[in-house]
Amino acid sequence: MYRAPFSVIGLLLIASLATSPTKSDELKDLYFGEALYYAHQGYFFEALERLDTEVAQYAGLDEPELDTLFYHIDDAEFSLGDFELRYRMHHRAGRAIRAVLEGAVDEVVRNDAAYRLARIHFQKGQMEDALLALERIDGKIPESIREDIEFLRANVYLAQEKPAESFEVLKRLQGSKSFGGFAAYNLGIAYLQDGQRQQAIEQLDRAGQISTDDPAELAIRDKANLVLGTILLEDGEYGKAMPYLNRVRLDGPFSNQALLSAGWASLSAEDYERAVVPWSILAQREVTDGATQEAMLALPYAYGKLDIHGRAAIHYGKALDAFGTEVDKLNESIESIREGLFLEALVREEIRKNKDWVINLRSLPETPETYYMMELLASHDFQTGLQNYLDLADLRKKLVSWETSFDSFDDMVAIRHDHYEPLLPDVDMKFRELDSRLRLRREQHKMLVRRRDDLLTTPRPEFLATPDEMAVLARIEYIEQQLEDASTPFEGALVARMERLKGLLTWTLETEYHARLTEFENNLSMLDEAMTVAQTQYDRFVRSRQAATHSFEGYETPISRLRARVSEAVRRVDLLMKRQGRQLEIVAIDELMARRGRLESYRDKARFALADSYDRATQAQARSEVQ
């Protein structure tokens, strides 16, 4: 591909890197800007394709400083790594970012790269390497990632089970606007991990009271309260657990679990009436939720403890029906996954257009399996597999569309061949004529230029004689020669006449020499212009001739090579999709089977407890009748 040697002087485009912490300077390379355009929309494949090509071309230049990418090469290489990271190509991203780290780049860019490399290692579970990358950060740190770096460092320590190392970092981050809530919670977990129970409780208590209106921080606040309540509940401190569980918002993501635990805390404290309250609320919620299902069983259990066996029996009956329905639904879901419907639903493009597409899967009537898989869909390993599957599906779509374009290319080349091939012999013949004529003219032009140059150094008036004058001169020379050979009595008079004629002509040539030289000069410059026009036309002709050939020659090999590569890639993608899809299906089925197993066990318990409640209700009724 020919690279446009343009410069964009004065084009006031300011680019902000998707990745870069600071806005880059004035954008000078349109192709880099184009890659950013795709990256900012989340189309990292397209962004990578363009930037890869651009950086590769730049690397092959003899004088890279003349190229417009020269001004952005550090950013471009950094962006390559970043796009690869976002396109989940961690291997290549790691290499690209390491290259930035080892290059002579600005301190800010290097530190940003080190942070990103650390994050890759962290995601891959390589904590030592993550820490090493973080240690490379030195000097000026981009403000926008300063806290991210510290938070990552603390998380690496926690993942390495070195909680004490993270204390200081997390304490500092508690005041952060972005990480305050998370740091407070993580500090509590760090104390817990370090065996400092009391410190952990106090810290989680603080984390559970932070003032915020940010949804993510509200969720982490709920989580802190839930964890703290659970710790106390596990330790048998039921009364202490209650206030923390009650702090969890009723409409937050942890509310079901909190309601369930609150019920258990009250029940464990033998406050059965109080246990009924959260469980009654919970039992009315989404039946597919694990906590709800447990509450449906726990609620009648509490009624039983209160000796309200009739109501207990009714609730056991409801639970039994609900569990039966859910088991059937799970069976259908497992069957549906086995039939491949789950994967079909995942790749449907209209679903993925919305950022909450995973949640929206629940609303699809033809994908019952997704009801039970919200947690699974949110887990990291499943997400990785799922994203890979979706990426493969996208790649497949691209490859298949490319496959069809090869036929069009072939047609195009064939049409051009059929059009140009018969015309070319005639064109070539005319071209050869034109070429020989132009060569002749070029030689003549050169000769005239040489003569003009000679005349400028050594004046030769006779060279500028007109054709008539030249004829006269030749005649005089001829007569002179005749006179030399002849012996005549009029020789003296004839010679004198000859001399006079010759003198007259010489006079004219000498006196008009400068005017004639100027005219010659003018004519020559006009000829130069004509020669330039002729040369331009000649060049255009040559280019058109070449373009005609290039429009249909030399495509066969690359098209057939690409066709083979695409076909091989489709085969590999199909294979990988099958394997990845199978893996997802196995995980999904395992998850659903586990949920089904749990529900079946609940159903058995409900069935037994229902019978028991009926017995007790009947006995109670009999007793009251006797009394």
């Binding site: 680019a15 255009r540 890639a569 949920r595």
Partner: protein, 176 residues
């Protein structure tokens, strides 16, 4: 029974969602190996895409006739660009209606290649029309004409757009 149920609850809470346990059943090595292979195929397909673009460019837009038009938005502009129409020598080359995502990408500094086509070498006219809305809701439309010369090398034309206002030219063509 209560003990059993509670144990389930506490386990679920202390660890993670039920899902994690199931996901962990999968061999991590298998997952990693598969992930590695997915990354490899991505790399291969990227290389195919690059080669294909190269071939397409040679076949469809040879250097001596290639012209590409790029659109960018001037820094700090907050007008809403709705559509852009490009004409070359009085004939419609392309028109584009912007989605929210595309507009956001332009506002963040991205540059859109709006048109790639062929024109003969020589002088040409480029007509650019932009339609949009100002922050106060006023709709506007602006058209400008520019001349450009096409040489034997590919021609890249960069258009920078700004909302109409004091001291602003609205549509500018990069000077090269």
């Amino acid at each position: 029974m209560s003990r059993l149920i509670r144990t389930i609850t506490l386990l679920a809470l202390a660890a993670a969602p039920f899902a994690t346990a199931a996901a962990q059943d999968l061999s991590r090595d298998d997952m990693r190996s598969l992930d590695g292979q997915v990354q490899e195929i991505k790399s291969d397909v990227l290389s195919i895409a690059s080669e294909l673009s190269n071939l397409e460019e040679r076949l469809l837009y040879p250097s001596n006739t290639q012209v590409a038009v790029f659109v960018a938005i001037e820094d700090d502009e907050d007008f809403r660009l709705d559509a852009v129409k490009i004409e070359i020598d009085g004939e419609l080359a392309t028109h584009h209606i912007y989605s929210f995502k595309e507009l956001e990408a332009l506002q963040k500094g991205g540059v859109q290649r709006i048109y790639t086509g062929n024109v003969p070498t020589g002088d040409h006219q480029l007509g650019v029309t932009m339609i949009g809305k100002l922050r106060n809701g006023t709709e506007f439309s602006k058209t400008d004409q520019f001349s450009f010369a096409k040489g034997v090398e590919p021609k890249a034309l960069g258009i920078t757009l700004a909302g109409p206002g004091l001291g602003k030219n609205g549509i500018q063509l990069g000077d090269w």
